[in-house]
């Protein structure tokens, strides 16, 4: 063991940290051959960093040398930062050793682009291939696909990795051209399309044949940087909603822009990353994925940006008081999901429990349903209390914003992000 490997580990972890994805969910792989590793459905967070993010995967870069000069990126060629490059065997060893100590669920490998896309991609694939074939490793592997890599390499990458990702980074093409002149949307959307197609094909083949080597079984994900370019929330969420139409796309990550390159005039001078906005975007994302909301219900021409002071579901409810109050004893599951403060778990609890008898507010509280916000939007088995219609939406709005405790409650949504 060469001690210098740990110096590189520091440099290349530092370089990889702005990639927010750390999910290890989506695949279940049993360890059948008595070798090392398994992947377990939901993914496990093994540690949490001081910024509160889940550490599930060993998130590192193969190298932080890069030929591109993207304004938002800490590793751009014009930056004066310490550079390092791992050899394939070094990453393999680190992954295996940390995995055996139960520090991690697997590897998330990304890389700066050296020489050309194919050269970089090839070396990343070599890591995954070594892990899978030589070490018989069954843990999780997430590979970043390098835009512009050839289809043959993209095919191979998907056979060894559980998940592939290509980052969109900048939510509109005009801004991308300004901020990262060497990149274009085509080079991002093309590999995404390729991954999607192979993913679907391998699912189809699985129906016909007994054994098919799955292609990127945990699908793909992508990331958008928020606040580095002038797009509004409507543009961002529409793009996300468009991407989610592809079943292979499991997650869109929103990464509040951390001003890493202060001197660049093309970027806004932020004093702090837009964390609240990022949180609201994730909440809106959750509404689209788990609460059966349509993107136009969350943001539209009249409301192009999310309300920073209210969570998007509450904001929606206050814009549509005519839908409320909802009777928890009779309403459909979809409508119960629309009650502010009631999440998927609570909604399911309500729907199953009400078969045994009518539910009262007291029952809901006992079950652990958060009624602080919900109580203004529901009726249950008792005398009606004041609802949004009697109190008027604008008054409720003041009530919620003035209530710091309510803000605390919203944190629970942020926490879901990285789990």
């Amino acid at each position: 063991m060469n001690a210098a490997i740990f110096d590189k580990l520091q440099i290349l972890a530092e370089a990889a940290k702005y990639d927010v994805s750390c999910a290890s969910s989506g695949t279940t792989r049993k360890n059948t051959a008595k070798t090392i590793g398994s992947a377990s459905g939901w993914g496990i967070c093994h540690s949490f960093t001081e910024d509160g993010r889940c550490v599930s995967l060993l998130k590192i870069m193969l190298t932080n040398y890069c030929k591109y000069d993207c304004a938002y990126c800490v590793n751009r060629v014009s930056n004066d930062v310490p550079r390092a490059t791992f050899s394939v065997s070094e990453i393999v060893e680190l992954t295996i050793e940390y995995y055996r100590r139960n520090y991690i669920e697997g590897l998330f490998l990304s890389s700066g682009v050296v020489r050309n896309a194919d050269y970089t991609m090839e070396r990343m694939i070599a890591v995954a291939k070594d892990l899978r074939t030589i070490h018989k490793y069954n843990g999780y592997i997430h590979l970043k696909a390098i835009p512009g890599a050839s289809p043959e390499l993209m095919l191979q990458a998907g056979l060894y990795a559980d998940r592939l990702s290509v980052n969109i980074e900048i939510p509109s093409e005009e801004s991308l051209k300004l901020i990262a002149p060497q990149k274009d949307y085509q080079s991002v959307l093309q590999p995404m399309g390729y991954i999607h197609q192979r993913f679907i094909e391998s699912k189809e083949e699985k129906k016909k044949y007994r054994y098919v080597q799955p292609y990127s079984p945990a699908g793909q994900s992508t990331q958008m940087v928020i606040g580095a370019s002038p797009e509004n929330d409507r543009q961002i969420l529409h793009l996300a909603s468009f991407l989610y139409q592809q079943p292979s796309l499991k997650r869109v990550y929103y990464s509040g822009y951390v001003p890493v390159n202060l001197s660049d005039a093309r970027l806004p001078a932020l004093t702090a990353p837009p964390l609240v906005r990022e949180n609201r975007l994730y909440q809106a994302d959750w509404l689209m994925r788990f609460y059966q909301f349509n993107v136009d219900e969350i943001v539209n021409e009249q409301y192009p940006d999310l309300d920073l002071e209210l969570d998007p579901k509450l904001a929606y409810a206050l814009r549509h008081p005519e839908l409320f109050p909802i009777d928890v004893n009779t309403a459909d599951y979809e409508m119960i999901l629309r009650i502010p403060g009631i999440g998927v778990k609570s909604a399911k609890l309500i729907v199953t429990s009400r078969r045994y008898g009518r539910l009262s507010l007291e029952h809901l509280k006992k079950m652990g349903v958060v009624t602080k916000r919900a109580k203004y939007f529901i009726t249950c088995h008792e005398l009606p209390i004041l609802t949004v219609n009697e109190l008027k939406p604008e008054n409720l709005r003041h009530l919620f914003i003035g209530n710091k405790q309510g803000e605390k409650g919203n944190h629970s949504q942020l926490q879901l992000l990285f789990s």
Partner: protein
């Protein structure tokens, strides 16, 4: 004057003992207000000691299988691992209610016993998940992977399968500091063992430096530095970190030591 105020059962502290209590109660048509482990003797209560009988317990389990789902039955066993005070009576009531109800009660969360047990179930499974998250193995010179941890509930049996599946080609030991037993996987199967004089620092769960493998400390230091590097300083949120990773585990976590 009759000073007897309530009926209580005593049992031997095993889960089969609880099932035996249910059997006896229905058999004798006597339902206790309290159930205690053997050693507790109460004044002013009529005491009846239930002798654990595996056959009777199995008959109760067989009856339960007809009335509640497999997962609900498993929930009862998991709640048992909580070792919480009063868990006996909750389980007893739940089982009795199941036998009396024409339909399964398992989803009726408006019932206080069902709700209470579901909460305990949640707590215990969460603690088990924390074992999967926060167990940290140290590699010894003789190629053992050792971890010490101090779970709130007796959850190691719940995670044995997970670790066995994941680390199938390495010998590992997970030691429960509070309950003084360990899971030991010998490359074939996992066993529960008692270790007499274990040479660890009970404050940190760390093995003595002499028994560690040569480069173990390199990996530990490297991991610590890695977690420092991967954190974004502009987004510091210590409250959230503590929320997800309770402080009580920190002393056993490689990355939080020194």
């Amino acid at each position: 004057m009759n000073t007897i105020t309530s009926l209580s059962f005593t049992y031997d502290g095993t889960i089969d003992g609880i099932f035996s209590c249910v059997f006896e109660a229905f058999d004798k048509k006597q339902f206790p207000q309290q159930i205690f482990k053997q050693e507790v003797a109460m004044l002013f209560t009529q005491n009846y000691h239930v002798v654990t009988d595996e056959q009777k317990a199995n008959r109760v389990i067989a009856g339960l299988k007809k009335r509640i789902s497999k997962s609900a039955l498993q929930m009862l066993f998991i709640c048992w691992l909580s070792e919480m005070e009063g868990i006996e009576m909750l389980l007893f009531n739940y089982i009795c209610k199941s036998f009396r109800s024409p339909v399964s009660i398992e989803l009726n969360f408006a019932d206080s016993d069902v709700l209470e047990l579901s909460k305990i179930y949640k707590k215990v499974t969460r603690e088990a998940e924390r074992m999967r998250q926060f167990v940290r193995f140290q590699k010894t010179a003789d190629e053992f992977y050792f971890a010490a941890i101090n779970p709130l509930y007796n959850v190691l049996p719940m995670v044995a399968d997970h670790f066995e599946d994941r680390f199938a080609d390495q010998q590992w030991v997970i030691y429960d500091i509070k309950r003084n037993y360990a899971l030991y996987y010998n490359l074939k199967k996992t066993e529960m063992i008692y270790i007499d004089d274990i040479k660890i620092d009970f404050q940190t769960g760390k093995l003595h430096r002499d028994v560690l493998s040569e480069d173990e400390l390199y990996f530990q230091v490297g991991w610590r530095q890695y977690l420092h590097s991967i954190s974004i300083k502009e987004r510091k949120n210590l409250r959230q970190q503590r929320q997800f990773m309770p402080k009580r585990f920190w002393k056993y976590l490689t990355e939080k030591q020194n």
